[in-house]
């Protein structure tokens, strides 16, 4: 009989387990509802949403890499009003777990407006603020690569999100992740998600052109896992707020490793694209792996690495 405790707490939001499909790799959740019961998932982070609908970047947007992939989707989304009026209610009809609205923007005002709308939606449990998208100019990552601008976004959105926890999703494409995370914490962030993708590039040597139409894109997949573990470890030791660990997670073992590094919950990204059942399979394997390792309560391993 399996009696391990998998439930975790993110700023008062109770998750049945720490497993969350990462933003951009699970659509708006509802797309997968016919494939398996989404309720096995602790939470779902929805596709990054902006104020206006966006077509995103030109294609090709995807490139194969060794042990990973590059994407340059460029925040294609139907806009915040469609998220609030259609996507969130549709997902809530079939899913009882934690719904995480992922918000991106091109100005502080846009972040404020979108976060306010997402926070007011009754379906939203957590706001995840993306200050780390590498695929759009003058936005996203620009806010996440300096401590002061990340703090400005954080304090602005905290004022409009009421009681809903705000997680700031950070970019690994920085010199000092710890100083940026600390600046967000000092500005009132309730938690940190890391890491977003690493800026990468592939070239088609036959055609002498970049594989991605936008030349560069975000590199993710199993290859980035050690970098993500390192950054989660560094930030968890510098900050008191909880962390959603993300980057290259592909197995129950990876989830445990990420939590030992300091994550309170774990997001699975690129793996969902090559295996549509990856998140579900990891949830199923997690208690078995815990039993193997003698872990009774998943909470006991969070940040055990000193």
């Amino acid at each position: 009989m399996v009696n391990e405790n998998l439930s975790v707490d993110l700023c008062g939001v109770k998750l049945s387990n720490p497993m969350i499909p990462a933003s951009g790799t699970f659509g708006f959740g509802i797309e997968m509802a016919d494939e398996f019961d989404l309720n096995v998932l602790g939470g779902i982070s929805l596709k990054g949403t902006t104020r206006e609908p966006r077509f995103g970047n030109p294609t090709p947007r995807i490139a194969e890499c060794r042990s990973g992939m590059i994407n340059s989707v460029g925040l294609q989304n139907p806009g915040i009003d469609v998220l609030v009026n259609e996507k969130l209610p549709a997902l809530r009809r079939v899913y009882g777990g934690a719904i995480i609205a992922n918000i991106s923007g091109f100005s502080i005002e846009e972040y404020e407006e979108c976060c306010a709308k997402a926070a007011q939606a009754p379906e939203t449990d957590i706001i995840e603020v993306n200050v780390s998208c590498p695929n759009v100019h003058n936005g996203g990552m620009a806010f996440g690569t300096s401590a002061s601008s990340a703090a400005s976004v954080t304090s602005a959105v905290k004022k409009v999100c009421g009681e809903k926890p705000v997680f700031i999703k950070l970019s690994p494409n920085v010199t000092d992740i710890v100083s940026i995370a600390k600046a967000c914490e000092d500005a009132g962030a309730d938690g940190i998600t890391l890491i977003n993708t690493l800026l990468g590039m592939r070239i088609d040597i036959q055609r002498r052109t970049p594989v991605i139409a936008n030349k560069m894109g975000g590199f993710s997949g199993q290859a980035v896992f050690p970098i993500a573990v390192r950054m989660v470890y560094q930030v968890s030791h510098a900050c008191r707020i909880p962390i959603m660990g993300c980057g290259g997670v592909a197995s129950a073992e990876d989830v445990i490793e990420m939590m030992m590094a300091g994550a309170s919950a774990v997001q699975v990204g690129a793996e969902n694209l090559r295996n549509p059942y990856a998140s579900k399979e990891i949830v199923e394997n997690l208690p078995l792996k815990m039993k193997d390792l003698g872990i009774k309560d998943i909470n006991e391993i969070i940040g055990v690495i000193e």
């Binding site: 995103g56 090709p60 995807i62 199993q222």
Partner: protein, 245 residues
């Protein structure tokens, strides 16, 4: 959609850089012609989307062209090797949109998915004409296969080494073909030319680099008259009038 293990029964070269692979496995999720599968190859992160050439209750046949490292690995697969494949992806051709006489236009390896379509149309008792365009004579494939189904086949080659010299659109001008609906698959420029040239309704099978293949990553979006659409989930088959070239 269904993920399952398929076993290689045959993997043979049928034209320069072009292979036919026959796989045994669970095909129950496949709904019809026009759909594609996502093939997982050992050592590669993402799956490879490949259109269905032919299928029955137990087997799935794909035709693929070696264009990169993944497909180069694929042509080394031997009988008995096993692969994880996701089946039942994408929208089918609408075979009921054709009343009586169908025109199928394939360019290069784009001929592959039209074969299963041709089978379905012939089974409905419809008359099928197929125009297949290639660069040179040695690239010609599937001509006899279509003929064996009862279709009238017209070949074009760019260099004139076989059939009508020129492009598939040249064959449209030269031959008096009777049709009320068309279906096309091939290079984008060819499909664009076909759509501009033909005034009946029709459908095109679009191609794009994909991430997931089942509609969650938004990597393969194209712009259409209905707004942004995912080639993998909302396509790959689109109505002629929907495509914004």
């Amino acid at each position: 959609m269904k993920e399952s293990i398929f076993e290689v029964e045959l993997n043979e070269k049928i034209a320069p850089r072009t292979y036919r692979i026959k796989l045994k496995g669970d095909t129950s999720a496949i709904e019809g012609s026009g759909q594609f599968v996502q093939v997982s190859l050992p050592g590669f992160f993402l799956r490879r989307p490949i259109s269905i050439h032919e299928y029955d209750g137990q087997t799935l046949t794909l035709i693929y062209r070696v264009v990169g490292e993944g497909t180069r690995m694929m042509c080394s697969l031997q009988c008995g090797d096993t692969l994880s494949i996701i089946t039942g992806l994408g929208k089918c051709f609408d075979i009921d949109a054709c009343r009586k006489d169908a025109l199928l236009i394939g360019g290069g390896v784009g001929a592959a998915p039209l074969y299963e379509l041709c089978k379905e149309l012939c089974a409905q008792g419809k008359n099928v004409t197929v125009i297949l365009g290639f660069n040179r004579k040695d690239e010609i494939m599937l001509a006899e296969d279509f003929s064996d189904l009862g279709a009238k086949v017209i070949i074009t080659t760019v260099d004139g080494s076989e059939g009508t010299k020129g492009f598939v659109t040249d064959a449209l001008s030269l031959h008096n073909i009777n049709y009320d609906y068309f279906y096309t698959c091939g290079p984008r420029v060819m499909m664009k030319a076909v759509c501009e040239r033909i005034h009946t309704g029709g459908e095109v099978s679009m191609e794009e680099r994909m991430g997931c293949g089942f509609g969650i990553c938004y990597g393969c979006t194209c712009n259409t008259t209905k707004g942004p659409q995912r080639v993998c989930k909302d396509g790959p088959v689109f109505k002629k009038e929907e495509v914004i070239w």
